[in-house]
């Protein structure tokens, strides 16, 4: 779990789309993430605005880690070499 935490920490400041288990998808700049993978987004906008009118004026939000289904990452945020290294290190036990 530490691996995902540090990976998400590296993504801070980038634009991500978070899809929740209730099918709500929110796009925004990743502001911070914690050990539970709770996420704080800034300058958020909901992907399907018409279906969720109550989200219109939400600019910044906190999302509980347990309700996240997917996080869509920017392609340039994925460094495969770095991830390979990190996963090998994790598999060897730190």
């Amino acid at each position: 779990m530490q691996l995902f935490f540090s990976y998400f920490k590296d993504l801070v400041g980038r634009e991500v789309t978070v899809e929740l288990k209730n099918d709500l998808a929110i796009r925004g700049t990743l502001h911070s993430v914690d050990q539970y993978l709770n996420i704080k987004l800034e300058n958020t906008r909901v992907v399907d605005q018409d279906k969720y009118p109550h989200m219109l004026s939400v600019r910044n939000c906190f999302i509980r880690g347990s309700v996240v289904r997917y996080v869509q990452l920017p392609p340039e945020g994925v460094d495969i070499e770095l991830l390979h290294d990190a996963t090998r290190r994790e598999a060897r036990g730190g």
Partner: protein
């Protein structure tokens, strides 16, 4: 006297203790104090939408809302039903959003209606989806998507 020492001293008086502790939370966890002043939107797992002023929170996302109200939206109708002080258990929280005061809270096409009216609309909507569900069940033998 530093705040944390003061808190220890006041442990026997629950109210002062809680007040001071929430002050400490404000001091430590939130560099941005605006979240305690602005109205927040809390989305729950059952789809309910609560609005209110944040008074406290913890690491489980347990939240205390002051002057909470539930915003019921059915189609283009909406209603804010006042609830009062709410303590929300963290596991039910989906999202906590800060509202932008410059922007409209809802699209201009939405109309405010009374509590009785929104309850009626809600019931009608629920019956419609139930009917759709039972129709689908009866037609299942046709095996369509």
């Amino acid at each position: 006297m530093p705040l944390n020492v003061l808190v220890l001293h006041c442990k026997n008086c629950l109210v002062t203790y809680l007040c001071l502790r929430s002050l400490m939370v404000v001091k430590h966890a939130s560099r941005d104090l605006s979240i305690f002043i602005e109205k927040l939107l809390v989305l729950l797992r059952d789809g309910r939408k609560l609005l209110g002023l944040l008074r406290s929170f913890d690491q489980f996302a347990n939240v205390i809302l002051e002057g909470a109200c539930e915003r019921v939206i059915v189609g283009d109708l909406y209603c804010d039903i006042p609830l009062g002080l709410y303590v929300i258990r963290g596991e039910n929280v989906v999202l906590i959003g800060e509202l932008d005061l410059e922007k409209e809270e809802l699209p201009s096409r939405m109309n405010p209606v009374s509590e009785a009216e929104i309850k009626r609309a809600q019931k009608a909507e629920r019956e419609a989806t139930d009917l759709k569900g039972s129709m689908r069940k009866r037609m299942e033998f046709l095996d369509f998507d």
